[in-house]
Point group: C2
Chain length 109, copies 2
């Protein structure tokens, strides 16, 4: 299992909408995440810096394929069309990234 952290900005004027959306994420979106072997997934918000931090535990064996399956899912694509305008990706992110990945520097069970 791999613990993963990621970060993205959020537009101040869309914080309320983002919270509202994430209080009721669509079941099909959650199911697709689950089928891509993601577990214990949390998102945290920091204001006034307007940063979102994501944390999840990946239990699969082909991360690229699992992420591609999420990206190819029509319901997830509809979901992203709602969430995307709320988010402000970091300019420093890698090509192909939306959320920017972070490096693990510490873990204890």
């Amino acid at each position: 299992m791999q613990r993963m952290g990621m970060v993205i900005g959020i537009a101040a004027e869309h914080i309320a909408e983002y919270k509202r959306l994430h209080a009721g994420v669509w079941p099909g979106v959650l199911e697709r995440i689950h089928r891509s072997h993601i577990r214990n997934y949390s998102i945290f918000l920091r204001e006034p810096e307007n940063l979102l931090f994501g944390y999840w535990e990946y239990h699969g064996r082909d991360f690229e394929a699992d992420m591609a399956a999420i990206a190819a899912d029509p319901e997830t694509q509809r979901w992203w069309r709602l969430c995307g305008p709320c988010q402000v990706p970091l300019a420093s992110r890698q090509p192909g990234e939306h959320w920017a990945s972070m490096a693990s520097v510490f873990h204890v069970d």
Copy 2:
């Protein structure tokens, strides 16, 4: 159990030292964290924004007392004297905070 997220800056010139320290956190520091009911604790680093994100799961019933017990531990105090100069607390943090707390906006198991 409560999932908690927190964020703090890191000084660019201290990133290597911070990584080195956290590759071998002292057993007494880890034990004190454990006794304060913290589990599944990870820290992630984002460069070049130079942010640290912390995630843990708190299983206790008196968070303030559990944090006070960590802060009163002499070995932890020695540890913090090494880590503290690496970190750059957010100006927006609450009084009494070092790491700034984040708000949970989403979770799925």
